[in-house]
């Protein structure tokens, strides 16, 4: 009787735990953070040995960071989550990212909490976390922190293979030290001769996108040439395709943008005039 009762109790508990985990997932998907917090607290207190306890602890931090007025609790919860879990796991990376986001609210300067959190992130042995901290540090008005971030960003830029992540790193370097933006890719060997009359290496690329329908410039920017690829990638598919077509018509391969710049030297690189926009790219 006792054994049967105990088994029934355990089976009942297991199904309740499973139901609670499923409910938690549904509430997370629905972004119902008040309910998520409640589910997590219940799961952690009633089933402290649950295999889903790490997720519950993480979602608890997430819920706190989304609920207005609970930011300080969120920071404490995130710190305690990070202390309790080993590095290099997806939830830990997410927790660091959450910590940076809660502690460093854009446009609110660099409160002590933000500087402290980013400083800790910069020291992390996990490359992604230190890189993320360095990228965030580029937005903070703290010269010492930005100085510390710069070598981390440069190292990450050299070792990173993902183009999207490299772009973000490059932008962060630009914000901290524009003069230290790494040179664009493309070997200097076999460099084709430049057009006569052009002196020195091209230093800047300028791009403007004029929206004809709305009668205004959507984009009007100037960057070191290292950003050429990124500038083109930042356009939507349609405009990028227009550019590619026009470049091809002129015997230029826009996918080899650095080669195209070297070949053309300074001056207008491309102009694409379509029904709804005028895109101009200049090299200085």
């Amino acid at each position: 009787m006792l054994i049967a009762g105990a088994m029934l109790f355990l089976m009942g508990a297991a199904s309740t735990e499973e139901a609670l985990v499923r409910q938690l997932k549904v509430d997370v998907f629905d972004e119902n953070w008040t309910a998520v917090l409640k589910d997590c607290d219940e799961l952690l207190s009633r089933f402290p040995l649950s295999p889903d306890r790490d997720q519950a602890a993480f979602y608890r931090t997430k819920a706190l960071s989304r609920l207005p007025g609970r930011e300080t609790e969120a920071i404490d919860a995130l710190r305690s989550f990070l202390r309790a879990h080993p590095a290099d796991r997806p939830l830990v990376e997410e927790a660091w990212s959450g910590l940076f986001a809660v502690a460093c609210v854009p446009g609110k300067g660099a409160p002590a909490e933000c500087r402290e959190v980013l400083g800790e992130g910069l020291q992390s042995s996990a490359p992604f976390i230190s890189t993320l901290a360095a990228i965030r540090a580029a937005d903070v008005d703290d010269a010492a922190l930005r100085r510390r971030a710069l070598p981390i960003l440069k190292k990450a830029y050299d070792s990173q293979t993902d183009a999207d992540i490299r772009n973000e790193i490059l932008i962060a370097i630009l914000k901290i030290a524009p003069d230290e933006v790494p040179a664009p890719h493309g070997s200097s060997a076999d460099r084709p001769p430049r057009k006569p009359g052009n002196q020195g290496e091209p230093a800047f690329i300028r791009m403007s996108v004029f929206n004809k329908e709305e009668g205004r410039f959507e984009v009007k920017v100037q960057f070191p040439v290292a950003f050429a690829r990124m500038l083109i990638d930042s356009l939507g598919d349609q405009r990028r395709e227009d550019l590619r077509r026009e470049a091809q018509r002129q015997g230029m391969n826009i996918d080899e943008i650095f080669e195209a710049i070297r070949r053309s030297g300074r001056g207008r690189l491309l102009e694409v005039d379509t029904e709804d926009s005028l895109i101009e790219i200049w090299i200085e």
Binding site: R22, K25, V26, V28, F29, E31, Q55, P90, L91, E93, E94, S97, A101, P106, F128, L132, I135, R136, D139, D162, D164, I165, N167, E168, I171, L174, K175, P178, D179, V181, G200, A203, F204, N211, E218, V219, K220, V221, Q222, F223, P224, F227, M230, L231, D233, S234, L235, G236, D237, Q238, R239
Partner: protein, 271 residues
Amino acid sequence: MMGRTPWSCRRTRGRLTQSFYRLLGSRRQGAFDRHLQACPACRAEWEATRTALQRIDSATAFPFESQVDWRRFTRETVAKARQAESAREQKALPGPGWRGRRPLLAWGGSLAALLVALAMMLPRSFRPEAPQTARPIAVSAESTRSLQHNVARQGAARYLRDSRSLLVSLIEAPVRCRRADGAYDLSLERERSRQLLRKKNLYLGSLDGPGDQRLVDLVEQLEALLLQVSSFDDCTTARQIHDLRDAIESRQILMRIDLVTRTVEGGGSRV
């Protein structure tokens, strides 16, 4: 054997949208296709549904959004915020003694500004212009901001598209697990989810424009799904895949991704 049972018209027509967004899984998709081959009426219905779904874009799905002039909205919001800020500053100023000193301070401020301007102009007049190569690289904060925002939008669109492929492949053709304690091998999807989450962490901070909200909402909703996938065991159960499919279907995730990515990647200035 169950998968080989021919589908009825009713069952097939109830799954037209799911088929369009490739949510049926390979076995059910097979039954669906077989029924269409044999049934001209359902085939016509399928063609009509497919054409309609292809024509849906953000403007038809979210008609009120296009009525908002986001630039004007931003301008007016900023103006109101500045007004409120200056009203607060006025309130915060201490009593009449301070007010009495304000004209003097204002003059002092103008004088200081004049001196700074002169100081900035003078060296230029006397110093020969530096050669172009020595010119420090100067990029305006506005340019950087604009580039970062555009890069983040395009990156977020790629993130959505990649997440969509991952979820579809996971639902449609999960790989059977070799171990006995699970049904499906999700080790590849788990790793891919992790990479996508990393990218998401880079973009989210830069998507703060008033027209980015729907993009951000979707990116965040996908984050929950990807976190789920990244936390699965290498060999996961059919039940977990089923739950994931439910979550995707009930929230119309694939359709929403389709709409948002089409707008962003098509060069649309707002989402």
